[in-house]
Symmetry: C2
């Protein structure tokens, strides 16, 4: 085991029988002329740690890590080593290593039992430290591997979900309603019908009084007013919403509208620290079905602190829901487009 | 039931047999001369909603709420009515109503089965809407009742916990360590001993290599360096921490130091979206005991968004830990005082 490597630009060259020993049989590096192999720094570090490589330009594992001027090497090394320990072959997402290379990804991971030449892909992985923010737009079709301050790794699978359901309530016309502070009370049978058939609002506390009154949130009221279901001016409901929430209200209303259009009934997610929880199978208040998603609404330029992601995803997982983000691009004047992003814990 | 009330300044006066009917038998209001009673607006609204009061200056429940110029009346009414429905007598925290009045509280709540005159107190309640921030310093000996946008109420019990444990590891002197990017690697048997006896650090990934190396977080390293346990300059570890986290690092280090001084072993709370999880009964890595608390570190002027509180407390509850905040008042030059605040869900 006295094989040595030599730094050559961004890679480490290894000769001897490296091609057969490291690449062909164990999926490290890419072949050069002869039997040589080029290793990425994470690969070289891993072989040094295992004593499969004696040294790189005289450096052992410790010296090799110290000598690197790339501050991301330690976190990428930890993820690479963890994936190897879990039984995966993995490679830098770079055209020299893999046909699956894509900008922005750090590693490609092959299915257990396969390697670089087998034409299959298990995961595309982006690596980040817990203190580095990740733009929402970078997520949706990759696995985010977060290395926390104690070097533990959390894998988060990100995808673009199809948010859809079967809720389709008939709405009343111009129901009798009061805009009071930051909520709207609907009086009479229309209020009860909104609640019973569409899961809008909350029956007023003091149900024992027999009053037919339902209290709507401002986002529910602004949506229903725009549908001519309430005798409340839609502009007044939106204006009140902006008074109490600023621009966030417009984003939440856009997401709410998108959910209702998709046949999903959104209710407040407050008890879960989210904007909404959603019901795709709501029949009536006695038969609401399981709420499938927690939704947090974000502006389109949002970047996640990984710790906030960990918090959201952990909570959603604990209540058997899928953490879902509505990334809202406001086009001004009430128009907005909503991109949906789902994030779940993954054990590779 | 044709009893009417009349607005008089901040209260509603009711005559007839109001004292006996409303105050003596059901705990509303406070007695005036004769048989009259003065009601707070929440009390009058509740009696109007139940039709126990026919009108206030000709107004029914709906008109009475509309006529109020106090934007907090709807949320305070919802909490008052909810507590009544749960079987509690409750009153404004004001000296005319109760001997337990205290500035900043909204309601005093008497134990089930008792009322204003019985000299006992169940809860002191502060009411807030979900959009109103609550200063950390206002919490610690009250129940926070948060009314969300759909008028549902979440009760949060706040207290000042005694954070303490039995962890007391002997530390090595000047262990061989490298400060690399945002973590510190301790080589040799000292690293292993730090982990085994004090739960410091994480064994380096690639345990199968037989290397005795433990990776410390910067906050662990800064603490241990200040205790002369590492051959790392304490100032360098702190400077690196500030590079990557800013002033937050100093606050986290102050909380970490406080926890260690109290005999508690803190580990990262990243997977729970917190700063630390804590172990009071750590024996060794095979016998760590249950982690009792999730700790989030905050600056002393912090104000909570109620939604963030709901998120933290819900998550902590789901993993059977107590959500705990370390509120750190930096006095400059590394000195800092830490106030501990615990918050848990409450069902009154």
């Amino acid at each position: 085991m006295n094989i040595e490597g030599h730094v050559d630009g961004d890679v480490v060259h290894v000769g001897h029988d490296a091609r057969q020993r490291f690449h062909d049989s164990r999926g490290y590096g890419y072949p050069l002329e002869g039997n040589d192999v080029a290793l990425a720094p994470v690969e070289a570090a891993h072989l040094l740690a295992r004593d499969d490589l004696a040294a790189v330009d005289g450096m052992d594992f410790r010296a090799f890590l110290r000598a690197s001027d790339d501050p991301t090497l330690p976190v990428r090394y930890l993820v690479y080593a963890d994936l190897r320990e879990r039984g995966f072959y993995s490679a830098p997402s770079h055209p020299d290593w893999t046909e699956f290379a894509r900008d922005g990804d750090d590693l490609v991971v092959y299915p257990r039992g396969s390697g670089p030449g087998d034409g299959e892909l298990a995961y595309r992985v982006r690596v980040t430290g817990e203190r580095t923010e990740v733009p929402a737009r970078a997520l949706g079709d990759c696995v985010l591997a977060v290395v926390d301050e104690e070097s533990e790794i959390t894998y988060l699978d990100t995808s673009r979900p199809d948010v859809a359901g079967d809720v389709d309530a008939g709405l009343p016309g111009g129901a009798d309603a009061d805009l009071l502070a930051d909520r709207v009370t609907v009086w009479g049978a229309s209020g009860e019908s909104l609640y019973e058939t569409g899961f809008y609002g909350t029956p007023l506390s003091g149900r024992d009084t027999g009053r037919d009154a339902v209290v709507l949130s401002l986002v529910e009221a602004a949506y229903l007013a725009a549908e001519d279901a309430l005798d409340v001016d839609p502009a007044a409901a939106v204006a009140r919403g902006r008074d109490v929430e600023g621009e966030r209200f417009d984003r939440r209303l856009a997401a709410y509208r998108d959910l209702r259009a998709a046949g999903v009934a959104p209710k407040t997610g407050f008890k879960f620290g989210a904007d909404f929880r959603t019901y795709a199978d709501f029949q009536n208040p006695e038969n609401v079905g399981h709420s499938e998603r927690l939704v947090r609404v974000l502006p389109s330029g949002h970047a996640f602190a990984p710790r906030d992601l960990a918090l959201d995803v952990r909570l959603a997982n604990g209540v058997k829901k899928t953490m879902t983000y509505a990334v809202v691009d406001a086009n001004g004047d009430g128009a907005a487009s909503v991109d949906w992003l789902a994030i779940q814990r993954l054990t590779p």
